[in-house]
Point group: C2
Chain length 428, copies 2
């Protein structure tokens, strides 16, 4: 296992060198479309059928009952509960700072405008099951939804082999105040939330990670008018490291990303050949000790190391890549942070490991992958709000700007737009 080293890349080659692997989704999409159409037409009946056939659950129960939540709380350790509470508190603290109060501004005399943040009434969260029960994502999505004041927050997550839901997911759901949890996975869960069934309420926006079926389903319901958090892709980490870094820490961070999946991508950028070889040898020894070492080793094969002439060159390369996570393990991390243009979340210095943001520092871990950081933000309080604008014009206010409106409406050939002003000014 050795990461591919590229020395002094030419900016002209950035696009090619930094290209993400392309996944063929055409066949997948037609399967997913069929599932969505069935759920839309048949509701719970279709959901039950897919849970039987795809999750191999013999007697599926769609909605989680109160007794399951009580059992879940009993089944997890006190130290895990305390850890989740600490994480929840920190995520809450950070996301509360994102609240914006309406601020009225008098644009001209008698023309007052403001905007108000209003919670999306109904949101749905999808939490993957499988090998890793991502209860941390329940906190990352549920906390801002609760702060925003969304009235209906529902959660879907697939059953494990025994037909149950991981207790940590249920505990996290209750911790953030989610009352309705449904044991549904895959595209059928996305369909149920997008179109509603007798049991599952329809929502206006769907959040959360998932496998290729979930991702394809979110994309399809989005094209059908249901809002989604952001387009998805495999998780990524870029690290910019100089002499100031600790190679063992850098290697540990690269591995923490690589263990997510064989399609995870990690990128190391450094201005020191020596740092690169130290990190590489640390990678080898640390990898051996990991339970998910096969996954991590495969992910490292897709990954790249860049030797650059200066930290500035390195920063340019990283902005061209637009990583989901970026660690600045360098002396001038504060200064370099100011040069970040394209990234989801940035970690400064030797003690800001990505794991901190994944779980407990307060920032959100639902972030734009696949270069989407060029145009998309990660999940924040804003993701659960709409910003509605308001305006009040007095008679005097309309007199101030009315003439300009009449002239522009006329020039655009919209006489009735003009008339809505003229009829008012005539009365004055």
């Amino acid at each position: 296992m050795e990461m591919q080293i590229i020395r002094f890349p030419d900016p002209k080659d950035f696009d090619r060198l930094l290209a993400r692997p392309v996944i063929d989704k055409v066949t997948l999409e037609s399967d997913v479309r069929k599932i969505l159409e069935a759920v839309k037409a048949e509701g719970d009946e279709a959901v039950r059928r897919f849970t039987l056939s795809l999750d191999k659950i013999s007697s599926p129960v769609i909605q989680i009952g109160e007794e399951d939540f009580i059992r879940a709380e009993k089944n997890i350790s006190e130290e895990l509960k305390a850890s989740m509470k600490l994480a929840k508190d920190n995520v809450e603290k950070f996301h509360r700072t994102q609240r914006e109060l309406p601020q009225e501004i008098e644009i001209q005399k008698g023309v007052t405008c403001w905007r108000k943040s209003i919670a999306i009434e109904r949101v749905g969260l999808y939490i993957p099951g499988g090998s890793a029960p991502l209860f941390s994502t329940v906190l990352m999505l549920g906390v801002p939804a609760a702060i925003a004041g969304c009235k209906e927050i529902i959660l879907c997550t697939p059953p494990s082999k025994d037909g149950l839901i991981n207790p940590a997911i249920l505990y996290a759901a209750r911790l953030v105040g989610i009352k309705k949890v449904f044991c549904i996975g895959g595209a059928q869960a996305i369909g149920a939330m997008a179109y509603g069934t007798k049991t599952v309420p329809r929502v206006y926006k769907i959040f959360g990670p998932g496998n290729q079926y979930v991702t394809a389903a979110k994309k399809l319901v989005n094209a059908d008018g249901v809002s989604i958090d952001m387009p998805a892709g495999p998780s990524e980490l870029a690290i910019l490291a100089d002499r100031f870094c600790v190679p063992a820490f850098v290697a540990a961070d690269l591995l923490s990303q690589a263990e997510h999946g064989t399609d995870s991508q990690v990128i190391l950028v450094s201005d020191e050949e020596e740092i690169i070889s130290c990190v590489n040898s640390e990678l080898k020894s640390q990898l051996e000790l990991l339970p998910r070492k096969d996954i991590a080793a495969k992910a490292l094969q897709n990954s790249k190391v860049f030797l650059v002439g200066s930290m500035e060159d390195g920063m340019n390369l990283i902005n061209a890549y637009a990583p989901e996570h970026l660690i600045l393990a360098c002396k001038d991390s504060d200064k370099l942070a100011e040069k970040v243009v394209n990234a989801g979340s940035v970690f400064l210095g030797n003690y800001s490991c990505e794991s901190a943001g994944d779980y407990a520092s307060g920032t959100n871990h639902t972030l734009p992958t696949n270069g989407f950081a060029r145009a998309y933000s990660g999940v924040s309080l804003d993701s659960f709000l709409k910003k509605v604008t308001f305006q009040r014009l007095t008679e005097e206010g309309l007199m101030e700007i009315g003439k300009a409106i009449e002239i522009m409406a006329e020039a655009e050939g919209l006489q009735a737009h003009k008339n809505a002003v003229s009829i008012r000014l005539k009365k004055s």
Copy 2:
């Protein structure tokens, strides 16, 4: 011409009564997909070909030259220039209030987080041509793009029959500082901006209204990873009116929306039968005087009037409909405004006509239609920014939250995530 009146609708019937007309887009999408693929593969060559065949321009010029801008400035009246400057100033004033400065917060001792608004580097604006040259949309999109600090702001707009661009569009572009304007329309313009050609730079996010081809193209490039402002649909206005309203004003506002297109939708909600009949007779007489009366009359046929038992019932109906524009022509418009949940932009009182917000009050006129106001915001400064989160942990900070991270990572089965913390805490 008489709008359909529905008296005392049952909330159970809201979904059916308020449903928007559904447009079949399947055949359209396959045509548009072909155009996009050709532009992606052949670049300028394909753009030229489609301009020849679809816009019927014999010798298409893709990029607008300096002399065209100079000619445009000469060709429009001083009063239109002054009106556009007033509008630009007001839009600028309002959108400047939307700026957010980074605010550092110490979550726990040694754990500091903040988020920073960073401009999307490259954005593309689409401005429709045709019967109404929408230069006002150039202001609505170009002003926030400039405030955000987007480095590359390009604009595409279709040629008129003589192969030229409306001078007001060119003047507006220069007014907001846009240097690169391309004379390309339809799906080929969206493709050129999404994938880039030799002449047209690739952008990361595409904004602006358009016909069904443009809308379908935006949807398709969005599914391909290019961000767009929002999904589109026909323009809409709902008015909630009580005894306090001026029926002639209400009728003028309904018509100003109805003239946009035959598929525009207007909805009037009132608690007074008398108001409804006064508005209806005003509609008849005002309609006769409009140059676009055929369009407006057709749009009114799709539209509805609701008689409700109380203003509260009316507000519930409107929140269920989620209109793009909402006028509160009522006595307690301030109080009612507080009950708005789903709307794009809200106009309070008798002198806040929709035209004001369309042109010059300062609020943005690019707003969510088709019920999207349930989950989407209108265009604002935010639309041109990404909000990137940052964090710095000191050694002490990691000690504060490290244990919780280790416990949660382990519970999620992610040993390497845990190890990234453990290796640092061991060194301490």
